[in-house]
Every structure is written in structure tokens, then in C-alpha cells.
Amino acid sequence: MTTLETSETGALVGTTGPRRSWRVVWIYGVLTVAAAVALIGFSRPGSATFGLQSSTDLVSLPPLVLPALPTGVVASLIAAACTGVAVMLVRLDRRQPLWLPIVFALALVVGLLTWATAGSPQTVPLPGLLAGSLALAVPLIFGALGGVISERVGVVNVAIEGQLLAGAFTAAVVASLTRSLIAGLIAAMVAGMLVSFVLAAFAIKYLVDQVIVGVVLNVLVLGLTNFLYSLVLVPASATLNSPPQFTPITIPLLSAIPVIGPVLFRQTVIVYLMYVGVVAVTIGLFRTKWGLRLRAVGEHPQAADTVGISVGGTRFWNVSLAGAIAGLGGAYLTLAAVPSFTRDVTSGAGFIALAAVIFGQWNPVKATLAALLFGFASNLQNVLGIVGSPVPPDFLLMLPYIVTIFAVAGLVGHARGPAAAGKPYVKG
């Protein structure tokens, strides 16, 4: 017994059984074995070519040619090594560092890509793969930022889809009418905010279950935009649904960084706004008075109330802000991606964003990473389809969703949200 006391934190290794979860290790193990079987056991002949250069790069990089079998072996070995490290860390009772799943995932992705495209005459354009991932992630990230703010202040936001859709619709109409992109952006924010107002008013003033309001708002906005699209926009699309479009702006030095430079820094204003948004929300939430109060209200509204913070007001305005941010995500769809609104143009992005919020553990940076992971998996599916993969399209289309489930079940596990999220606050 005395020996057991010697260490405060972790010397009791192995003597009394496991205390940390082996779940991560299991996931690593299963994936490693699966990868080894596929990449080595069912190895395909030939090699895969990865393009590192996007057409407008200044420096030219030769494409990377990876032979399938050796790459499969190396990828499997790296995956096995990661699994080994994970086992060791669990036995040593240490925290799993963030780089481990990243290295692991990279090895698997490279292995998978090489396997799937081996022998294909097509090159896998890495910058294109990444740029597409980002493009698919942008509305998700805006939606997730809105979700994080809203839930952090204690209002469960199931209405992200509605906020995105309202933003997309309004941005298209207002920008078409005014011929001004800025007006479109502002209108999208206002529209997202209006959806939020309803959420906030019903949830905060009338104490209606926040999930009800969120679910219903999605239906309401979808119905309204469909209705207005058919009856108002389609007949007058030249005036009401032909907005100008944001053009990418190249940032001089940064965009010259190989591979990721053009991906990140040859983007439209909305995407730059998104970078700013992620940084600002992160700093704001954790470093400023605004964030402190916001989080206090979401964690313990009574405590906030007793120090003179207006719970209702804080919730109301921050939920509105969340709507405005999500609205920008909608504007991306109709002002940057494609210059027009079409029926249900969000196609469920809001729900994926909601998943990213939870997956990202209510942290803006992690939620952004979750959205990027989703975007990457989606675009990986696209690219695999393009370079010709042996998998039926329907199964490729499932890829991002399956990846998300694996990630959530395997790596994130139980996530604790803001303590008071979803609970209406009633003062005595």
C-alpha cells in the first residue's frame, strides 16, 4: 500500500488494471488491420501520381509518383506504429496528443488514395483536393461558428440549416437588386439574425423548448424559401436572382507558399472573413469580457444573474449574432460559390454544421477542424470518383458520413456541452 502512494499521478501502471479508455486503441487497431488487408493483401498494380502544383503556381513542383504496393506497406507500417504509440500512451496513462490521429489519418488517406488510383492515368491534384475541401467546408464552418456561439450562451441551435438557407436566399435577392455584394452580405446577416430572433424570442421569452423552435424553424424557412423561389424568384430571375459574384483575391506573398498557399490565400472575401471569424470568435470566447459573460450565461445562468449580467439579454443578442454569422455561410453559397439561389441550396449543410459543433466539442477551432474533415472526406469522395475508383458511387457518397461516425465514436467519445444549453432560464 505504501508503494502505491509514491506517485500522485500515474505510477500505478499495470498493477491495478486499465483506467484510461482503450477505445482509441481499438479504433486504431481495427483501421490498421483493415488498411493492411486492403493495401497489401488486395494490392493493386501500378503507381499513383500526386500533383503538387496548381496551374498558377510560380514555383513548379514535379508530381509525386508513389508505387502502390510499397506505399501501402509504408502506410500500414506508419498506421501500425501510431497504434503502437497509442497503446504505449494508454499503458503509460498519458494523454493522446493531437498529432497522433492526424499522422494516422494522413497515412491511411495517402495509402487509400494510392491504392484507389494505382494504375490510373489521372494524377491526384493535391491542391485541388484541399481547395475543394475548403470550399465544401466554408458554409459548414460559418454554421458551426454560429452554433458554437449560440450553444455556448445556452441556446441549443438546431436552426443552423434555416439560418444558412435564409442567408443564402436573402443575399441573392438583395445583391441582385442592389448590385452590391456588400449589401448582399449584410442582408444575409440580417436574415440569419431574423431567424435567430424567432429562435431567441420563443426560447428566451416564451420558454419554448429550443429544440422544437430549431426544428420548426428549419421547416419554416425551407417552406418559405421554396415558396418565394417558385413564386417570386423564378419568374423574375433576371432582377431578383442574378447577383454579382465575389471574385477571388490573391494575397501576394502567402499565396506563393507551395501547395497550401494557393489553397488558402487565393480566395474570396467571404473566406477571408471566415478566417477572421474563426480567430475572432476563438479569442473573443476565451479572452474577452464578452466571451466570459457569454460562457457564464451558458454554464450557470443563475451565477451570471447574481453578478448582474442580464441572462435574457446576453442570450438574445448572442443568439442573434450567431444567426448573423451563419447567414454569412448562406451568402457564401449564393454570392461566392454560385451566383444564384436555388431550391434547398444548403442541402443539409446546417445539420452537418450542427454535427461539427458537437464533434468539435463546442470549441470554435475544433469545430472548424471537424468541418474541414467533413469537407475533406466529401472531396476525397469526389476525387476518388474522378480518378476512377472500383467502389460504387453510392458507397463513395457515404464516405464523409462514415468517416464522421468513426471519428466521433472513436476519437471524440463523450462530449460535454455547456451545462445550461437547452434550458430556459426563469427568474424567480
Binding site: M1, L4, E5, E8, T9, G10, L12, T16, G17, R19, R20, D93, I283, R287, T288, K289, W290, L292, R293, R295, A296, E299, H300, Q302, A303, A304, D305, T306, V307, G308, I309, S310, A419, K427, G428
Partner: protein
């Protein structure tokens, strides 16, 4: 600062929680409010603090009438309050909690955490607290959390300080320290309103005492009044303050705990090799400062801890590795420490809560179906026998007062054929009348030949109930001593000194 309340009336629907209450607290005075559960003390303080708007009456500070539209106004006017239920954000650090609501900022609205840390340190030093400004609240023991609440109130230079049952969760030492601080503040000219159910400390600290019953002031008393006098003034009848119990007639060893370790999520041992034996028909009280492994030990008995090693035997039957269900089925009854969190489902009715741990088979379930009539009859009987004050068995438990909630838990646990009873903090936050009742029930259980474990941080309770006392410190049993061990010895043991060393 002088505080005066004039004719404060506060109604909740048909109920008048405060009925024309007058109260004057002079600067440099500690004024105690006494009253049974639900008398209206907290309500009055919430009115004072701007949380509730009074229906009638006015609040005066230094003879000026105040208009509070919210706690913000009250704080600005110089009122500080330590709430009955801590108002701290668990995931924030001490400094963040202290600065919340009056944050100092640097350029760009960024928090000036250094300033907040300095404030925390400055107040800590002034009163000899040992509080790390960067510790997260949820990692701190309640005693320290209590200090954070006080620091929070003081950081705003409160001229009137309200302490609503601040000692309910403190150890004797911590209570003594708090009393010292209150006296320090009083001597500095602060007007203090102090609410407590513990007559001993009220008499020790009060300059004046006001007793409230049924929302009305029923009398003033001086600290020189005896506990018995105060108690009967509060409740309106004579109260037995000491537990009337015959000497124990212990039988065979019933609960045997051998070399038990409990590890937390990080693999740190929180119970560290505990050996204990409880005999049938005896009460073993486990004393100790909150957070020294008592909670985990009781949870380990009931299969509620994930990582337990060692052996726990009940009448020779192995309990380790069993599920909570199996332990309950083995005849163990459990009064958990946090009744609202672990003991009750607040949204459920009294009746439903009374069958909560017998949701699987007889008597309330047959072939998968609830037997509601039988449950109703049972609940009615329990309601009467345990004197649970409620509209009926269909009342949601969340609407009951704390004392009545506790009675529901007891009524449930004591209605089975017990072979073991474990009661953790059975009277936390209860008034003297309720305490009397709960203690009687526990003693009656012992007298029926059941081995009883009572975990309490309350020395009064430990001394009143125990046949033997085990003191825990840092996950270990410091020693097992007879019930008549002097308080100061117990106090030292709670601080970790072995009994021989103490005796020597």
C-alpha cells in the same frame, strides 16, 4: 453600511413567503436570521439582493431608499451575497469567477486576468485564505469554493454582506475560519446578515438574532439564549436536540471492507487501501473533510465506481464487481450525498421516486407492468409515516423543500428489508426539526439489527449518531475510534494525524 428592511412582503401566487418583515442591521453587526426550512429567509435575502421584486416594503441603505431592478443594482449599492447554493461557474477559474460581472479589460475588450488574479491574491492574503486564482472551481473542494464566494463578495467592497447558510458544507475547522473572517469584517464596519441552521455557530457569532417563522418575524433573541430556546422559537414547539439512543448491541461482522482502492478517471487513487468492519446493529460514522474519499468509498460499495480493487463483503457475500442493481438486491440501502443529483428524479412524483430503486420486480412490478394501485397505497403510507409535507403522492419531488426531499429518500431506502444502510450526509441543509426526525430513523434502523454506515462532515452529527467513528483523510482511514472521542482529537484526525500521535 447600515441596512434597513421595512415591511418587506413577497408573495408567490397564493403563498406569502415574506409577510411585512422589518429588519435593521447596523454597521459592524453580525445579524443572524434563524428559521426552519421554508420560513422565508432566502426569499428575504433574494429580495434584498434584487433577485426578487418585493410586493410591498422598501430597502434602505444608510437611510436611503433603494430601487433595485436586478442584482447589478444591489451590488453597485454595496450589497454582497454568498448564496445558499454556490453561484460559481464550475468550468471557470477562481479569478474568472471573481471578475465576472465587473471585468477589467485591456485594449480591445480583452480580459485583464492579471488584475483579477491580483484581487484574488490581495483578498486571500488579507484573510489568510489559501486560494489559487488559476484553479478551476470544479476541481476545488467545497470549502475552498465557499472562500471563493466570499472573495467574490468582498472584491466589490460590500458594505452589507449576506451569507445564506454558508456553513452547510464546511468542516468544523473551515467553519471556525469563516467565523473568524466574519468577525474581522464586522470589526471593519461591514454589516453582516448570517443565516444558519446550526445553533451552536449562530450563538457563537451573532450580535443579534431574528427568528422567522411562516414568513413573519416571530421574535428577536440574543446570542446568550440557549440552543433549546432558539430551536423552539424557530419551530414553534420543543425540539429534541440530542439523539435519544440506547447503547448499541452489535452482532456479528456484517460489512467487511478489505484493502479497497478506488481510482478516478486519471488513475489516481482516491480511496487508498481502506479496511473497515461494520457489525450488525451498530452505526459506524465516517468522519472527514469533504473530498477525502468518503463519497467514493460509499459509491464503491454500490458499484458506482468504475475502478475498484480490494474486497467488499456483506455477510460474506462479495460485493465488488457487482452492478448497483445487484448490490441493492443484496439488501443494501443507500442515501446518496447529493439527493437532487443522485437520489431523486425531481420531475417524478413522490410515488414514482419511492419505487425508483425497485423498478424491476416485486412488489411494484409484475410481469413487466407497474402495479400503480399498490404503489399508491405504499406511497400514502410512507407519506404519513415519514411526515412528508406535500399536497399528495402525485406531487413532483422537485417541488418539495430540501428536508422533505430527504425524507422521500429515507422513506424509500428504509422500506426494504435492509441488510445494510449507507447514509451519506443525511441531514445536509435540513433544519433542526427535520434533523431530529432523520436521526431517529437512522437509529431505529440500527436498533433493528442493521449495520449502518453514516458519512458526515458534520461533527455534531457524527458524535450524535456514531457507535464507532472512522476518520478518513486523503483516501485512507486515519483511525477508528470510540464514539466518545473528544472533538478536538477528531478534528486533528480529520487533518490527517494518526490517533496514537494525537493521544500521545
Amino acid at each position: 453600511m447600515k441596512l434597513e428592511l421595512r415591511g418587506i412582503t413577497k408573495r408567490f401566487g397564493a403563498l406569502t413567503a415574506n409577510d411585512h418583515i422589518d429588519l435593521v442591521v447596523e454597521p459592524g453587526e453580525i445579524h443572524c436570521l434563524l428559521g426552519e426550512n421554508g420560513a422565508g429567509k432566502s426569499t428575504l435575502m433574494n429580495v434584498l439582493y434584487g433577485l426578487y421584486r418585493p410586493d410591498e416594503g422598501e430597502i434602505l441603505l444608510d437611510d436611503e431608499v433603494q430601487r433595485f431592478s436586478g442584482p447589478g443594482d444591489a451590488m453597485r449599492a454595496g450589497i454582497g451575497m454568498v448564496h445558499q447554493h454556490f453561484m460559481l461557474v464550475p468550468v471557470f477559474t477562481v479569478a474568472e469567477n471573481v471578475m465576472l460581472g465587473h471585468e477589467s479589460t485591456k485594449a480591445g475588450g480583452r480580459l485583464d486576468l492579471d488584475a483579477a488574479r491580483a484581487t484574488v491574491r490581495e483578498i486571500s492574503d488579507r484573510f489568510g485564505f489559501d486560494v489559487d486564482p488559476d484553479a478551476r472551481i470544479e476541481d476545488l473542494p467545497v470549502g475552498i469554493q465557499q472562500r471563493v464566494e466570499i472573495i467574490k463578495a468582498l472584491s466589490r467592497d460590500a458594505g452589507v454582506l449576506v451569507l445564506d447558510e454558508p456553513t452547510a458544507v464546511l468542516t468544523p475547522q473551515e467553519t471556525d475560519e469563516l467565523i473568524g473572517i466574519m468577525k474581522q469584517l464586522r470589526d471593519g464596519g461591514t454589516a453582516i446578515v448570517f443565516i444558519s441552521h446550526k445553533l451552536r455557530e449562530v450563538r457563537e457569532v451573532a450580535d443579534r438574532i431574528t427568528v422567522v417563522r411562516l414568513g413573519k418575524v416571530v421574535g428577536q433573541a440574543l446570542p446568550t439564549a440557549s440552543s433549546t430556546e432558539l430551536a423552539s422559537l424557530m419551530v414553534g414547539r420543543a425540539v429534541e436536540l440530542t439523539v435519544d439512543k440506547a447503547p448499541a448491541a452489535p452482532g456479528a461482522d456484517a460489512l467487511v471492507i478489505e484493502g479497497v482502492h478506488v481510482y478516478d478517471g486519471n488513475g489516481v487513487p482516491v480511496v487508498n487501501g481502506v479496511d473497515l468492519t461494520v457489525r450488525a446493529g451498530e452505526i459506524l460514522a465516517i468522519a472527514g473533510v469533504q473530498g477525502n474519499g468518503q463519497t467514493e468509498l460509499t459509491e464503491a460499495i454500490f458499484g458506482l465506481q468504475a475502478e475498484v480493487t480490494g474486497r467488499i463483503l456483506l455477510h460474506g457475500e462479495e460485493l465488488t464487481g457487482r452492478t448497483p442493481r445487484q448490490v441493492l438486491d443484496a439488501g443494501a440501502g443507500f442515501v446518496p450525498e447529493d439527493r437532487q443529483h443522485d437520489g431523486l428524479v425531481p420531475e417524478f412524483t413522490i410515488a414514482e421516486n419511492l419505487m425508483l430503486d425497485r423498478s424491476d420486480g416485486e412488489p411494484f412490478v409484475r410481469r413487466g407492468a407497474l402495479r400503480l394501485k399498490r404503489l399508491a397505497a405504499f406511497a400514502e403510507e410512507r407519506l404519513k409515516r415519514f411526515d412528508i409535507r406535500a399536497q399528495g403522492i402525485g406531487t413532483p419531488v422537485g417541488r418539495l423543500s430540501g428536508g422533505n426531499q430527504q425524507k422521500v429518500v429515507l422513506a424509500r431506502e428504509l422500506s426494504r428489508d435492509l441488510r445494510l444502510l449507507v447514509a451519506a450526509q443525511p441531514t445536509r441543509g435540513l433544519d433542526v426539526g427535520s434533523i431530529e426526525f432523520v436521526h431517529q430513523q437512522i437509529v431505529a434502523t440500527r436498533d433493528a439489527g442493521v449495520p449502518v454506515v453514516v458519512v458526515s462532515t458534520e461533527l455534531d452529527e457524527v458524535v450524535a449518531l456514531a457507535d464507532r467513528i472512522a476518520v478518513m483523510h486523503r483516501g485512507r482511514v486515519v483511525g477508528v475510534v470510540p464514539a466518545d472521542t473528544p472533538r478536538d482529537v477528531l478534528g486533528l484526525m480529520m487533518a490527517g494525524e494518526a490517533p496514537q500521535a494525537v493521544a500521545a
